[in-house]
């Protein structure tokens, strides 16, 4: 196996970098817009973060989030941005898998697949 990076490796790294960067930026923009809406509506009320209550079930789950965003809720939009953020490293792993499959590296395709499945299972336990 080549120790030096092949041209394909470098190409893949560029793609991974772009995916990571655009994911973070997109997420940040969505969170920012959501934050502005949220502050606009709720800026005057008093926050209570001292006591822990489980998040309202409405915001847990993609469908719930999209409904909130459609209703113009800032918190929903922030949650959407957070979902994009969390999905970014997952997308990166998926692309790495594509890379290893194309290189015909069976062993590392398996490793990457295991990581991907782990991530998906962890997030899928979260109600869609």
């Amino acid at each position: 196996m080549a120790n030096a990076k092949s041209w394909n490796d470098e190409q893949l790294e560029v793609i991974l970098a772009k995916v990571l960067l655009s994911g973070v930026i997109t997420a940040a923009v969505v969170v920012l817009i959501g934050g502005i809406i949220y502050l606009f509506r709720h800026g005057g009320s008093v926050p209570d973060y001292r006591v822990f209550h489980g998040e309202s079930s409405v915001l847990n789950g993609i469908r719930g989030i999209l409904r909130e965003v459609a209703a113009g809720r800032g918190r929903g939009m922030i949650q959407l941005g957070l979902v994009v953020l969390i999905a970014t490293p997952v997308a990166r792993v998926a692309l790495s898998l594509v890379g290893f499959v194309r290189e015909r590296d069976r062993l590392f395709s398996v490793f990457t697949f295991i990581v991907l499945i782990t991530l998906v299972l962890s997030l899928a336990g979260w109600r869609f």
Binding site: L21, I78, I86, S122
Partner: protein, 278 residues
């Protein structure tokens, strides 16, 4: 105070945390939780959720930058991520099982150890002279840009590194931090990987590790949007600026002060945890 004032305060604190975190290489996440819990009396679970989110953001951004430089070892990262992701899920589940004061104490200890680890002089050389058995099997060796050309390096003690990564992942999930210091420790000290490669590869792995625990965090409601929003945005901005600041005598003094602050925060977390104030 109002939500607006509170948010502005959190945002400002996050910018400073991100800036100093980038400057010292300790990351902003390590400071965010104590900051929110000790100074603003935020419940530790919400603080951890916000911190975890910021960790994903900064590490993904940093990883993008380092990938372009060609230092990260993606094979090592991919292999070790199996350990870190499983550890992260375990750690995230443990949050509900471990008492809050205990989490506070563990957090404080981790802060103290992180400050100690980052204060040690960077090792130049001392990398693996030979390939370890597992490393050879998996072709984990690599090369990185070094002056004129590419310098090749070996990797060793992969099973040990794997085990250490599992622990690092568990800490990440349990505390909502990146555990970068421990990941670098495992790669640099145990596996003999050159320091610059260790740090960049660690950054590459932190985001994936945190994403693994994020699922559990979301399910248990630890991630509160109103809090995660200013923390994420603030730490991103702070670390972006922090990485672009030239290292000068002033910054070295800042780093020293920050390390002392971390030690103080760590001690206070331990104290508060032990005396039941958390």
């Amino acid at each position: 105070m109002s939500v607006f004032d509170f948010t502005a305060l959190v945002w400002f604190g996050s910018v400073v945390a991100g800036f100093l975190g980038a400057l010292t290489g300790l990351g902003g996440g390590v400071v965010i939780v104590p900051l929110l819990v000790l100074a603003l009396h935020v419940n530790i679970h919400y603080a951890m959720g916000a911190s975890l989110v910021s960790v994903i953001a900064t590490s993904s951004g940093a990883a993008a930058a380092y990938l372009k430089e060609g230092f990260s070892n993606i094979r090592v990262a991919m292999f070790l991520e199996m350990a870190t992701t499983w550890g992260a899920i375990l750690g995230a589940f443990l949050v509900a099982k471990v008492s809050t004061p205990s989490i506070g104490v563990i957090f404080g200890v981790v802060l103290l150890v992180s400050a100690y680890l980052s204060s040690r002089p960077r090792k130049r050389g001392g990398t693996a002279s030979q390939m370890g058995a597992v490393a050879q099997l998996l072709h984990l060796d690599g090369s990185f840009p070094d002056g004129a050309g590419m310098r090749h390096y070996n990797v060793r003690r992969v099973p040990l590194g794997f085990g250490m990564m599992f622990v690092a992942g568990t800490l990440s999930g349990l505390l909502g931090i990146g555990s970068g210091a421990f990941k670098v420790l495992a790669m640099d000290q145990a596996m003999g990987i050159p320091f610059k490669v260790s740090t960049t590869t660690s950054n590459f792995m932190i985001g994936v590790t945190a994403a693994a625990s994020a699922g559990v965090y979301l399910r248990h409601g630890y991630i509160e949007p109103g809090l995660a929003m200013p923390v994420m945005l603030g730490v991103l901005i702070g670390s972006f600026v922090g990485t672009r600041v030239l290292v000068t005598a002033q910054t070295n003094r800042l780093r020293l002060i920050f390390s002392l602050v971390i030690v103080a925060l760590g001690a206070e977390m331990v104290y508060n945890g032990l005396t039941g104030k958390l």
